[in-house]
Amino acid sequence: MRYKDLSPAVRRSLWPIIGLFVLLLANVLISPEFFSIEIKDGRFYGSLIDVMNRAAPVALLAIGMTLVIATGGVDLSVGSVMAIAGAVSAGLIVGGVDNIAIVIGGGLLAGVAAGFVNGFLVGYFGIQPIVATLILMVAGRGIAQLINSGQIVTFHHEAFEYLGVGYLFGLPFPIILVIITFVLVQLLMRRTALGLFVEGVGANASASHYIGINDKLIKLMVYCVSGLCAAVAGMIAAADIGGSDANNAGLWLELDAILAVVIGGASLMGGRFSVFLSIIGALIIQALTITIILSGVPPKFNLLIKAAAIIVILLLQSPEFHRQIARFKKAGGAQS
């Protein structure tokens, strides 16, 4: 089958996946044992697993962010919400709560509350998403620091730490959490009409209103989901280092999450979305980070490499770029 004959949907999903493979291949050149996966005490162990494991927080954020972006919005507060959720859970543990359900429930509740605030401001107040969520991006980190009194709250709680460092079926638990969230969201979006409504609101809010879709409620919902995902990511981050670092947890991760969604091919103007491709996007970003670490290039070049890689990946997805390449090839062929 030729590329031209592929349906647009397949074509769209092809490029992020190719991008990921190219990056992984680059890693093999840098460090030959990149693809080797060993089994140590019944656990998979290797760089590939690391990529997935480390991508988990951004992947979770990206899942929520995908829905938000599909409605034509954006959620800048996810990084801060991560910090809040981590701080709440840590606070509960240090405060003597041992029941894991309460600890996790507390974190999730914080996430939903944050999402509710965002969704309310965007949906019912009609404040522009970037600004509405900027409020919580700034204030949220303050709230997290307030909970922690600005310190890193270290804790020991075996069950909770399992979220970050545990293993299930030989895989790090964060990976499992991403899979579970993905499946749940996918069920919710594709087995009910919610996904359709989300895309409708993003494609044309005014037309959706005329169809009778409750666009405000849909917006409220997606921000709540985003808040929830951010809370899970925040708890993973806290569990991973056994401490809640309100100052740095999730710092600037909102940008990574947005980047992941866009690499996954979604438009920031809203409309069509694919949660799966956003996760691929998150994997690409993490693979890139690990490539940079492994490459041994001095850190001051990190950002330059990242910028170059992003542009290349974006160009790969651009149909106009394909056309240019085709034209170039044709011209080259004619000359020789």
């Binding site: 044992e33 480390r54 620091q145 890193i152 991973d240 740095n248 690990i290 670490i293 850190p299």
Partner: protein
């Protein structure tokens, strides 16, 4: 009234620093105007100018970066408000612009850490370095001091160096990858990190890779925050160079003396940190626990 312009609240160390300044001000009955710059120099400059506009009696600054202070310091001088620089250094060629600097010597901290490590390993060591934020003066200074010392030893070299942005989570993540890249890390001799947070993250990665931090891989860092003492006790960390966050006291001493008419201050009061190791940490550990 004293205005205090703080960098931000990017780490636990910084917060302890802010709190201790506030507590000290309370104790002495000083009316403290605290301003958090959220890691931005421009905010700090704004804050200082607003202190000047408010007509405070003295200003304490913990600068974000070393450069770029001359214009605003000159303005303070025109308004006859004394300025004390704490924590980081400032680079101005006219030392009349401030009363004194109470600051550590980052280069020296790097040297101390390196000297300790070279002693412990007889100068034979493959080292992994976790740098602080690219471009920060602490990272640059500590790197310089450390490299200067190990440059004298044939057998010591840095095999890998990456930034982990001074945070615990990044420390763990970066170390994890480095261990993989170094074939599991069995060949490595030591880890040198530009602050304790990164070390605390990295030791978890080392442990998860099946090695024993502090034995298989020696760990040396800077700051000596509270958490590092637990790690020293557990034997996960071998050494940490002290950098005291309790700068409020000395700063207010200087200000009080200045307002009493004293003028000839030493222009750089170097905060000379101790180095805590497995051998000497106990006393300090007990002391901090009791607080």
């Amino acid at each position: 009234t004293v205005g205090f312009s703080q960098v931000g609240s990017e780490s636990g160390w910084r917060t302890t620093f802010s709190e201790s300044v506030k507590a000290e001000a309370d104790k002495r009955g000083i009316d403290l105007k605290f301003s958090d710059a959220q890691q931005k120099q421009e905010n700090q400059i704004k804050a200082i100018r607003s202190f000047i506009a408010q007509g405070v009696d003295a200003i304490v600054v913990a600068p974000v970066v070393e450069t770029g202070w001359r214009p605003v310091l000159m303005e303070a001088r025109r308004a006859r408000i004394p300025v004390v620089i704490v924590d980081r250094n400032v680079a101005v060629n006219n030392d009349q612009l401030y009363v004194t600097r109470i600051a550590p010597n980052f280069v020296d901290e790097g040297r101390k850490a390196a000297n300790w490590l070279m002693d412990a390993t007889d100068g034979q060591c493959d080292i992994v370095e976790l740098q602080g934020t690219v471009g920060s003066s602490a990272a640059i200074g500590r790197m310089e001091g450390f490299n200067e010392v190990i440059g004298k030893y044939e057998g010591a070299k840095i095999v890998r160096s990456q930034t982990a942005e001074f945070t615990r989570a990044k420390g763990k993540e970066v170390m994890e990858s480095i261990l993989k890249a170094e074939g599991g890390g069995k060949e490595l001799c030591a880890l040198w990190t530009h602050n304790d947070e990164m070390a605390l993250g990295a030791i978890q990665a080392i442990r998860e890779a099946g090695l024993k931090p502090g034995e298989d891989i020696l760990v040396v860092s800077v700051d000596a925050v509270d958490d590092i003492f637990s790690a020293l006790k557990a034997g996960d960390v071998n050494a940490s160079v002290e950098m005291s966050p309790h700068l409020g006291g000395p700063a207010f001493d200087v200000i009080e003396a200045y307002l009493d008419g004293k003028r000839d201050f030493e222009k750089w009061m170097v905060m000379d940190g101790r180095i805590f190791t497995q051998e000497n940490y106990q006393d300090e550990y007990e002391l901090r626990k009791s607080q």
